[in-house]
Every structure is written in C-alpha cells, then in structure tokens.
C-alpha cells in the first residue's frame, strides 16, 4: 500500500511539497495513497465527481463548498500538489513555525490563511466581500427547513451588522478577521494529520 504509493511519487516532488506545505514525508505518502484511491479516472488528477463519491460528504451541509475550495478558479481538475496545498491549511500551527513567520513567506497554515480559506467558502464571486446573499446562501445550507426565510434574513442582517464597520452592508476580509479575533482559529481549523 504505502510502498506502491511512494513509487509513483518522485522524491523531488515530495521534497517540493514538503517545502511548500510543511507536511512530513510519511504524511505526504499517506495522503498520496489516499489521493490515488480517490482518483477513479487514474489520470493523476481529481475531478469534482471524484470528491463527490466520498459518501460522507453528501451529508455534510458544506460538503460541496469544501469540494469547491479544492479547485482553483475556473478549473475542474486538481492535481496532487493542489490537493496538498488545500489540505495544508488544516495543519496545526507548530511552535517553531510561529517564530519564523516574519522572515519567510507566510505558511499555508497561518492564522490569516486559515481564515482566508474560511472566508472563501462564503465569497463565491471572489470580490473579497461577503455580501448578504452570499451569507444567506451559507446560512441556508446550515440550518434546517424549520426556519423561515424572513427569520434567516434577519439573522443574516444582524450578522453582517455585527461585522460590518464601514457600512457597505457586506463583510470584507479585514472585517472578517476582526470580528473573529477572539475565536481560536488555530485550534478550530486544525486537524491532526496521520503520519
């Protein structure tokens, strides 16, 4: 299993991914094996359908949004590099990474990048603003049918009101960061990846 996967993945590729994402060697080979098992077309990339086949995602209210997040704008295939880059957002932040933050480019799992990832889940038209409609869509995905549209609307209004400081009736990324200041994003957006 593991060995089969690693033979398909070249060493230098692993090195590059390691550098870019911070995953360890064994994590990369493990995830690569997962990647190939998802890749039913066996062409080295994943399509939306490949993701949609994961049974659990069908009952995740945000499943499709998260699938979308794996695909760069306008594309409908994602290769292993891209796959790993997205997953890298969910690596826990380690102590030694905090320090070198200032020097090199920001790692994918920094607080800001984690938040940006979350922000993009809402911001479908990529105008760096969460409009009321966009928020409403996400809310609608996440609440049951028992809640009426007008109730949801007022919730959305209030939510925007909480975050919106410049009065444009939408949430910009900066406002988003600000309003989630107290939330422990580092913890809430981290997964312990297996080795």
């Amino acid at each position: 299993m593991g060995s089969r996967a690693s033979t398909l993945l070249r060493e230098e590729e692993i090195e590059e991914i390691k550098k870019e994402t911070g995953f360890s060697h064994s994590q990369i080979t493990r995830l690569y094996s997962r990647f190939t098992s998802l890749d039913k077309g066996e062409n080295g990339t994943l399509s939306r359908e490949d993701f949609q086949r994961i049974p659990e995602l069908a009952i995740n209210p945000l499943g499709d949004r998260i699938i979308n997040a794996f695909f760069p704008e306008g594309e409908d295939q994602v290769n292993f590099r891209g796959f790993m880059r997205t997953l890298a957002h969910f690596r826990p932040i380690e102590d030694n990474e905090k320090n070198k933050n200032a020097a090199a480019t920001e790692p994918l799992n920094s607080r800001t990048n984690k938040l940006l990832f979350a922000f993009r889940l809402y911001d479908l038209d990529r105008d760096d603003k969460i409009s009321r409609d966009e928020l409403l869509q996400v809310l609608r995905m996440m609440v049951g049918v028992n809640i009426s549209d007008e109730q949801l609307g007022s919730i959305a209004d209030r939510t925007i009101q909480e975050a919106d400081t410049n009065g444009d009736n939408s949430i910009s990324f900066n406002e988003f960061i600000k309003v989630l200041e107290k939330v422990d994003v580092e913890q809430k957006m981290s997964i312990r990846f297996l080795h």
């Binding site: 945000l62 998260i66 609608r140 049918v145 997964i191």
Partner: protein
Amino acid sequence: MHLSGLVQLWLLGSLMLTWPVSGLIRMHPESTGTSAETDHGHHNSSVEEVPIVTFKWPHVKTPYLITLWIFVAFLGKMVIEANHHVTSVIPESALLICFGFILGGMIWGADKKQTFTLTPEVFFLYLLPQVILDAGYTMPNKLFFTNLGAILIYAIIGTCWNAASVGLSLWGCHEGGAMGDIEIGLLQYLLFGSLIAAVDPVAVLAVFEQVHVNEVLFIMVFGESLLNDGVTVVLFNVFDAFVSLGGPKINAAEIVKGIVSFFVVAFGGSLLGMVFGLLISLLTRCTKNIKIIEPGFIFVLGYLSYLTAEMLSLSAILSIVFCGVCCQKYINANMDENSVNTVRYAMKVLANGSETIIFVFLGISAIDKEIWVWNTGFILLTLLFIIIYRIIGVFFLTWILNKFRLVPVSFIDQVIMSYGGLRGAVAYGLAVMLDESKIKEKNLMISTTLIVVYFTVIFQGITMKPLVRWLKVRRANTSELTLIEKVQNKVFDHMLVAIEDISGQIGHNYMRDKWKHFEDKWMTNVLMKPSARKVRDQVFKVFHRLNLKDAVSYVAEGERRGSLEFVRNETAIVDFKKKIGEDFTEVMPDIMADTSSDYDAMTDMRRDPVPSVSLEIHEQGMKGVRETEDVNTHHLLQQHLYKSRKQHRHRYSRSHFHVNEDEKEVQEIFQRTMRNRLESFKSAKMGVAPPKTISKHQKKDQQQQQKMANGKQLDKSKTYNSDFEFSEGDSATGFEASGTSSPWRVTYRAGAGIENPAFMPDMDLTDPLQVPPWLADTELDSSSSMVAPSQRAQVRLPWTPSNLRRLAPLRISTRSTDSFMMADREATQPRNEDDERFPPPPPPPPAPHRDEGHM
C-alpha cells in the same frame, strides 16, 4: 468519636448539613466561647411544680452546637461576601481561613485550649463527599474526557513524582543535617511526601472559580486535583502500611503488592462509582410518581457510593467523582425539570456549605499550641520543594504531552498550572490521621502541612489573580456573543469533518465517536426514559428557557411603554400557534404542555407564550428591544443549525424507532446536496438528461463494485444489520466506497455511510409503492404552479439511499408539506440570474408553517 453513634439518631430528622460537624464537638459546652454560652443565662425552673417551661440543654446540646457552628460559618461567609472590594483582591477561601483564625483565637482565649478541630473522620466522611459529588455532577464531561489523557498523566505520574521527589529530597536534606535532630526515617519522609503531594480540589476550585482562566487550563488543574486526591489517598495508605511494616520487612513482594493495590484501589473505586452512577440513572427512570423525593436519590446513592468504596477500602473520592460524572447526563434527562433544578441547587448548597466549614475549621485548627512544633529547616524546605518539584513536574509532563496534543499547552498556561498547585484540607486530614505511635514527629508534620496549606491558599491564592492578569493568560471566552462567531464555529466544525473525510483518516474524535455509538446503542436505551430519549436534544430546553425570558422581557417592555395592547395582539397568537405549536407539539408534547402551564402560572393576562416574541416585536417596529432580539436570533440559530455530522452520524441503529431529529437532518442535507449537484451538473452540460448520467455512472460504479473484494460488502452489511439487507441483495445500489476500497479502510466509520446517491439507479420512481407521497404531491401540484423545468427535475430526484428508504414513512409526516411548499415557492420567487454562475445555491427551503401564518 464515640459521639457519632448517638448523634446519628439526632441527625435523621435534621438538615443534611448538620452531619458535618457532629464529630467536631468535644464535650465542653460551658466553655465553648461561642454564642452557645449565652443560653446559660436561663436557669432551670423548679422541679417540684408542674413545669411550664423546662430548660433541657443537655438534651439538644450536640445538634444545637453543630447547627450553631454552621450558622456562624455561614454568617462569616455572608459578611465576607458582602465586601466585594475585598473578595476581588483576596480570594474567599483565604478570608474564610482568616475568619477561622479569629474564631479559633476567641475559643482559645476562653478555653486556653483548642476544643474544636477538624478531625479526619468528620472531614472525610461528612464534609468532603458533597464537595466532590458536586464537582463530579457539574463536571463539563466533554471537556473532561477530551483532556482525560493529560489529566490522568498529571494526576498519576505527576502526583507520584511529587510525592517521591519531595520525600526523597527531604530525606536527603535530613541526611545532610539540614533539619537538626528529628526522628524521621526514609519511609516516613515518603509518607509525608505522599500526603503533601496532592493538589486539593476544594482549594483549587475556590481560587480558580474567581479567576476565569480558559476552560482547558481550568479542566487540567481541576481534573488533576480531583483525580489525584484518589491517587494521594492510595499512596498514603500504601506508605502507611509500609511504615507499619517497618523498613526491614519490606521486600520486593511487598512493593509489588503495594503497586497492585494502587491500581486495584484506584480503578476499583472508579468502577464502583460508575456502577452507582448507572444505578442512579436506572432508578430515575422509574421515579415518575415520586417526583418530590426524586432528588434525594442522587444524594443518598452518591453518598452510598462514597461509603461503600470507603468500606471496601477502595478510593472513595474517585468513586464519588465518577458516580457524579456518569449519572449527570441521564438523570438530567430522566428527571423532571424541577427535580433537576432541586438537585442542582441542593448540591450547591451542600458543597458550598461544607467548603465554607472546611476553610473555617482549617483556620480554627491553627490556633492550638499543642500542635505547633517549629523546625525551620523542615518547614521551609518542604515549602521550597513542593513548589520547585511541582514546576519541574508540570513542565516535564507537559513537554511530553505537547508532543501528542493537537493544541499544545502554552508556556503561560504551564506557569499557571504549576502555580495553581494549591494544597488543602485533604492533606491536613491525612496528616492528622498519622499514627503518633509510629511517627514521632506527627505534630511537626501537621504544622508543616498547615503552613503549606496557608501559604498556598492565602499567598498563592491572592497572587493568582494578578499573575493571571500580568501574564495575560487566555481567559475563558464569555460564551459566544456574536452571531457570526456562532455561525463560523459551526462552519469550522463542518469543515473539519469534511477535510477529515477527504484526507481519509481517523480524526481525533474517532474514539469519542465510537463511544457515542456504543452509548447510543446500549446505554441510552437502558438508562433513559423513552420520553427523555425523544427530546434528548438539550437545545429544546435551552429554547424553552430562552422563550420564557423573551416573554418576560416582552411583557416588561410593553409595560414600560405603558401599554398592554400588544399582549393581546392577535397575530402574535396566530403566529405562535403556527410556528411553534405545530412544529414542536408532535415532537415534544411534554415540554409544550409545560410551557403553557408555566406561562399560565406566570400571569393571567397573557394569553399565549409567544415564543418568537422578539421577532414579532421587530415586525411591529419596536426596534428598541435589541437584546431580546439578540437572544432570539441566537436561539433560533442554536436550534436550527445543523449539527456537524460527527455528533450524530451513528444514529442508524435498529433500536431507534423514534422520530429522530438527526435522521431528518441528514436526509435534509443529503437531498439538498444531491439537488445542488444535479443542478450544477445540468448547468455545466446543457441538455444532458439526468437519467443518462446516472446510468452511466452506475455502470462505471458497478465495475468498481465488482473489482472490490466482497469482504467489504460483508463488513458493511454487518454494521448496518438488517437495515442494510437491501444493498446486500442488490449489488447495483452503487455503493461507492472510495473510503473502503482503498487500503485506508479506516476512513470508513461504521454507520457513517450514506451511499453516494449520485450513482444510484433511479428506482424510486419505478416502483409505485416506493414513490414517496410527497413526490406525488408535487407532481399533482406542478401543473398549477409554474415550476421551471430544471427545478421540477430537481424536485423529482430525491434519491433515497437504500439505507434511508425505511425512513420513507417518516417522511410522509415530516416532509410532505415542505416539498409541496417548495414547488410553490420556487414559482413565486424566481431565482437570480446570478445564481447560475455560482455553484448552485441551495434552493431556499420553505417554512410552510410560518408562511401560512403570514399570508
């Protein structure tokens, strides 16, 4: 303590709180120096005549004194609490000890000798249990069990380390001549080390409750202090036995026995507690008819678990902790709401009361010339060592733990953890229990223990708050204040689950899931009332309570404005009936009934409970009531946000026949997802008919299925039991096992799967019996309402995954109107053009009840 037997008789009828002090009283009524003395002013009337009034002091003396002591202690607490500016600087526990000093001084002044001290029997049998039971009962279970690993490490290894290092270092210093001339051997030092090692839950709770550090830090310190009490008592007993045996007789076999007994005592105690906890849960299933004494069971059985463990010489503290931890969930669900409140309050009264008494008597005990033996070296070195070794222990263990923790314990938290090592009454109680015939320097040990206690509780207690502030320790989040946080937290949850599924691994919640599965399947069925199971969703209770609050503030607001007109507003009533009545009466008749009766009782003039009050207020232009509205939107969200799947994915067990919110939810999400996917698919490839796509995938899938080992299928069917027969029989159900077909089978969690419906043959529609009635509804209706073709197709394709099919009848009741309304709504609210560009937004699901109310 020969008194206790006699005292017990008295206690039967008296307050539970009068138990504690029964042993405290030594017989010196005349010289007590408390207000008891004032009663002596009366004198006995003559015996020759028929007495009108007789004075029978000896008759009531013991309970009288006990009660008086409690009264005095409570008064002291009241006075202390009245001065907020003082308690905000000095923690209450420290003040109570000082209050004890004063009382003790008064007694000593009157008596020239200390007549009231805290005896171990009283402390361990009457004062401690309720404090610990309360701690267990109010334990935040999720937090506790998530961090259980770390807590156990600190509690077991940390305590052993503290005991051993303090004992050995003191012995080393003794050998080095630092203590002068005292008769303490190595074993005695270890014994002393073990009694001084443990952090005390009473002291920790008293201090940390006021500092509000973040919850993980709190649970670490508190959990450790609770569990290490058990450990410390065990260690103490083992070393005590060693000391009795005497040095030469201890061989390897005895040491092994000691270690074995350590585990037997600790785990036996915990197990016993769990058994009692389950017993309580079972009992509360059948106490429907005796609601009045229902709460009593908790206390009596909890106390019994403590006493039984004590009797079997298991760890009584661990026993009662786990008793409380185990039963809390079930009894809260099983018992009447009033009983739950009673238990909660009574528990607090008892725990707080005995905490007060403990601290006061810790203070009183100090004013006694007899126990004070000063040995500078011994005392100061002990103080030094317990602080240093605590710090070393915490940092070392955390360093190891951090290698395995998702979120490492930060440096500052570690500082607070080391500094939070407060010693308390348990150590003192153990010290007093030392046998003077075997340990010559017992009094030195007692006075050292007292000094350590005073130092940690008073000095560290006082400095804790400034330290926390100065180090900027992360404080407890004061709940979720903003809606966006609440929403975002849910988004995070869903996101993590999805990413875990995609990356195909067992999440760190895996064990919890497994446990939940087990619990849902077995424990809940046995331990919970059927009615309680149905409304187990605690959200309803929150909802209920918030509604009460809303209504009250609604009325208050109205009255403030000088008009009661709004109360009789007809639309509000109609709205209520539609919105809440219909939605929830079927699910939870109990609470509904409850609600209305509560409201009736509250005020006559209100004619209905108007739960969504604030929204109504909003609609009526009373925009000023912003807080109410906040509360309202919060609980609306609270109630309706989908739970993340981790929390409910295992409910597909045969044993659940009830309407299950979660199944409904899963279906709902599932259908939406499918609808969206189909729509996006259609918009991507114009004109491709859905059936074709589906069959294509189906073929592809079939092949994959065949490639797959059959074993996987068997696995699956086992998990699903008979529910899954369908898919077993029909290999073309298109079970897509991306998780299972890979080597990483771990990804598949039992019961989690919903088969991927996108690849299901569309057989629902072929079999007339299986056409869900709500579909039929839509078809009938579709001619009259102009549904756009794509949307019609979308409505047409509610694939039912095979393992959900058995739920179809359920859907008749819960969903039919929804779909019906959906078709309707789509027609009346044409969609944005914009939407086409996005991955499809979910079609706004309707809320039929609301709408009827408004239109």
